[in-house]
Amino acid sequence: MANGIYVGMAGASARLDQLDSIADNLANAESAGFKAERPAFESFLPAGQTTGPQAPVAVSTALDLRDGAQKSTGRPLDVIPEGGAFLSVALGDNKVGYTRNGQITIGADGLLMAAGHPLLDSQGQPIPVPPGEHMTLSPQGTLSVKNTQIAQVGTYKLSGPLERLGSSIIGVGPGGTAPPASGHMQTGMLELSNTTPIESMVQMIGAERQYDASMQAIQIYKTMGSRAGQLGTLQQG
């Protein structure tokens, strides 16, 4: 069998992977602080070959870290860290996650929470809230009770390999870095998803047509295979 049929198969398979990513981006078009994923494809040659058809495979999914649209909520504990920075949260096992979902709340144990996990200050410590006190959060990221500063919320710039951990939380993979940022933030605002529906719909149409093309190629190889079979039959007859 000509190995071109496998190239067609790899192409079709890659487009199915791409559709999975598009589906996730579209499903999260309303998730606060969501960062869209972008699959990257590369062509590869079968091992030991230097020429011949090259099959595409998905080699990585990169996170699109562009800012999403912003929405004014008027809630004093809704924040958007400035300059594309992320809030940090404790994930347990001394692991730290990062999020752009700036809806800060108070947890059952009196700790400030973001994206369902304890929010960390600039020293990497959870922030307990004094019970029964009125608390304010400044655009400089400082938390105060009765005009006395109790904590500085930590913000970080992410780069390098990143992984999504669910619930709008992003982790830093091996080799990735998260240096501290200014801690400044817009308050009373929330960042929405950075999925752009038009882009996603166009990508979806593109993926579907390229999938069709790959299927067409498989069909042609299949027909060629059966013709070759018929040729053999003629010779015998």
Binding site: I106, M201, D212
Partner: protein
Amino acid sequence: MLRSLYTAATGMEAQETMMDVVANNLANASTTGFKASQTNFADLISDTLQAPGGPQGGQTVSEPSGIQVGLGTRIQSTTPNLTQGTMSNTNNTFDLAIQGSGYFKVQQADGTFAYTRAGNFSVSAQGQMVTQSGLMVEPGISIPAQTTQVTISPQGLVSATVAGQTNANQIGQIELSTFTNPGGLLAQGNNLYSETSASGNAITVKPGEQGTGQIAQGYLEGSNVQAVNEMVNMIAAQRAYEMNSQVITAANDMLQRLTNIQLSS
């Protein structure tokens, strides 16, 4: 089977919930002290096909990022929008509006406390100041018999003038409750909220203190539902629902094409 089928389904489900919230907001566009809810979405966990930073595809160099495919969305929470509702003048003695943050505290039948922004109070048969559902304002305020006039100051001081007297006597103080995270209050229905571990404990102060609002007598705070916003949210939910259904159609078409290849000779 394609993940995208299930991923798009999570999107459609979440948009249905958003429509439910929009419908409730619009239904309460005329409810005194009602705070519109907003729907908050969060992504689900991702399928990690290849961890970031590892070598792959027989190559020796490590890739800068792995392969992760997200599995969709979910409703993380619904939070109230705490902006001020529209104020309307009613001239009723016991209609009170809070100009700013804070909640009136009322005692429920079971002795626990609830909090409300709806200041359309009345006087009960026993002369107590109560909500429209008969719950007593806390701390309790008794209106003396034969009272001709009750005035409530912006700081919450309640004074009554009794028939035959010229001077008003102070008969009580209205207090407001404030919360570190008012978004964490639990809506109970009947315009009432109860405190939760997420809201923090109630802090009781006099109106105007610690950032709370002052009292406006003879006014009512209407619903803060913005009909235009809700219509926009409805359109957004409807279109997002359609786009997710388009993904299902695309995935279905692609799978159908695959089946056709196997069937045709």
